[in-house]
Structures are given as structure tokens and as C-alpha cells.
């Protein structure tokens, strides 16, 4: 399994956010890594974040739980990419073990 870089994940996630939330006025490159995804930041609501969580599970196998880690992951792009990177790294290690 080839490990995806953090930068590549961020680019992928930004596109996912724009597509899922149908942000017609925002380009993926406009999204800052530390910009809050919710409400006052990008303006996503909880259903949008749920859609993102569903996509993450389908595409990467990452299950976002209702705990501190899960809520932190959905707070901004940086945290989301870090959580996904850690998940993929662990999955890669388990696959090669």
C-alpha cells in the first residue's frame, strides 16, 4: 500500500468538502488548512459534516466517532487530514505486517 502524503490528502479533502457541501462560490484552493469547517468558518452545517464523514468511511475506511477525536477531526482541514493520514498509516502498517 502506497502511503499518501499529507499534502495530497489535504488537496483531496478540500475537493471533497467543496463537492459535498456544494460550495459553488469556493474553490478547493481557497480553503485554508486552519479555517473552521463549521458555521462561521466555511459555513458547513452538521448535515454537510455528516456527508463528509460518510465519504471518508466509504473512500478511506475511516470511521469518525462521536468522541473528542472525531469532533476534533471535523473541526478544520488540517485536523481532518492529520486524522486521515494517521488512519491510513496505521492501515498501511497492518497490511504490511
Amino acid at each position: 500500500m502506497t502511503l499518501v502524503t499529507l499534502q495530497a490528502l489535504k488537496a483531496d479533502l478540500k475537493k471533497l468538502v467543496v463537492d459535498v457541501a456544494n460550495l459553488t462560490h469556493v474553490s478547493p484552493d481557497d480553503i485554508k488548512d486552519d479555517e473552521p469547517l463549521f458555521r462561521d468558518g466555511l459555513g458547513l452545517d452538521s448535515i454537510d459534516l455528516l456527508e463528509i464523514a460518510v465519504h471518508l468511511e466509504k473512500r478511506y475506511g475511516l470511521k469518525v466517532q462521536n468522541d473528542d477525536g472525531g469532533r476534533r477531526a471535523l473541526s478544520n482541514l488540517e485536523n481532518l487530514a492529520q486524522a486521515l493520514h494517521a488512519h491510513l498509516s496505521m492501515a498501511g502498517r497492518q497490511a504490511s505486517a
Binding site: F38, D45, S46, I47, L49, L50, E51, A53, V54, V64, Q65, N66, G70, R71, L74
Partner: protein
């Protein structure tokens, strides 16, 4: 008690039932939640934040559990849609219907009416399927009528409102709502409530 016996029957069959309640909205809800929990239902507290609530709902649906919402009341903010109820617009929360549509889960309305006023009167429960969870054929006049699409959440909401209207018309003294319900009543010379 939200017809707690129904929950206990399902719990006895191994079917897990989750009930979404905003425990912060009313101190009395905690007692109801405790009763439901004693009958085997799992409480999802909506006051803990919408995102947390949705992640809990997702987990339950992933595990093929039942999730119950009080669809005839709820926050009048966020994703609300105005749909007439007995001729006057009401802002309904779209959340439960968006969740059902997103996850492709069957949607069932649940109403309960007490038959008579004597202490031993029975409750009549009505379950009506609003959507079986499968994609549906596109309209016959569509250019692509052979394909199937997932129904719009607003379509599901409208089906629910029609069902509720029918139930309330059949038993008007059994439905109550202490919250401001109809919108735009001012200035129309009558009070729909």
C-alpha cells in the same frame, strides 16, 4: 411514555431502538428518557450538539438499529422547510428526512392514540411506511424515466406531514403541541391553533 411497550417488544426481539431527545429542552424529558432506557431503548441526547447527535445516529444506522425522532416538533432553525399543516404553513425540520434519504433507510411514521378514557383503555399504534429506503423510478415524463433516484428529503417530509394531518384529523384531541407551531398567523384574523 411514547408507547414504551412497543420499544420493550422490539428490545425483547433483539432489535435495538434509539430515541433522539433534547434532554436540555425540558427537565421532564430526563424522566421520560430514564423510563425509555429501562425498557431497553438507547437515548441519543440532542442537547450535546448536532454533530455529535448525527454521528451517534450514523453509528446506530450503520448497525441496522431503529432511530426515532419527534418529527412534529424540533428546532425552528437550520434546515427548515415550510409545509402547510391544516391549511397554514408550519416550519418543519428537515433533519430526520435528510438522514433517511442520505442513508437510504426506510422511513416509518409512528403514532399512538389512546382508545377511550377509562383506566384500562388500550393504545392503538399506527405505523405507516413513508419510504421503503429504495431508490424510486423517475417521473414517467422525465427524459430518463428508466433510471431510479433517491427521493428528495422534502418529498419525504411532505409525505410525513400528510400522514400526520390524517392522524390528527381522525383524533384531534390526542395531538398536542405546546410550542409556537404555525407561522404567519398574525393579521389573518383567526387563530389556527
Amino acid at each position: 411514555m411514547l408507547c414504551g411497550q412497543v420499544f420493550s417488544i422490539h428490545a425483547g426481539k433483539g432489535l435495538k431502538v434509539n430515541v433522539v431527545i433534547d434532554l436540555g429542552a425540558n427537565p421532564g424529558f430526563a424522566t421520560q428518557a430514564g423510563n425509555l432506557a429501562n425498557m431497553g431503548a438507547r437515548i441519543i441526547d440532542a442537547s450535546s450538539g448536532t454533530l455529535g447527535l448525527l454521528l451517534d445516529v450514523k453509528r446506530a444506522l450503520d448497525e441496522r438499529e431503529i432511530v426515532c425522532f419527534l418529527a412534529d416538533r424540533g428546532p425552528k432553525e437550520g434546515r427548515v422547510v415550510a409545509v402547510p399543516f391544516f391549511g397554514r404553513d408550519v416550519d418543519w425540520h428537515l433533519g430526520p428526512f435528510e438522514i433517511a434519504a442520505r442513508f437510504g433507510k426506510p422511513l416509518v411514521s409512528f403514532t399512538c392514540v389512546k382508545k377511550g378514557w377509562s383506566p384500562g383503555a388500550v393504545h392503538e399504534v399506527t405505523l405507516e411506511e413513508l419510504w421503503d429506503g429504495s431508490d424510486q423510478p423517475e417521473a414517467a415524463n422525465s427524459a430518463n424515466s428508466a433510471s431510479h433516484v433517491r427521493p428528495n428529503p422534502e418529498t419525504l417530509l411532505r409525505r410525513y406531514v400528510m400522514t400526520l394531518e390524517k392522524q390528527v384529523a381522525a383524533a384531534p384531541t390526542h395531538w398536542f403541541n405546546f410550542f409556537p407551531f404555525w407561522t404567519n398567523l398574525e393579521g389573518n384574523g383567526r387563530n389556527a391553533q
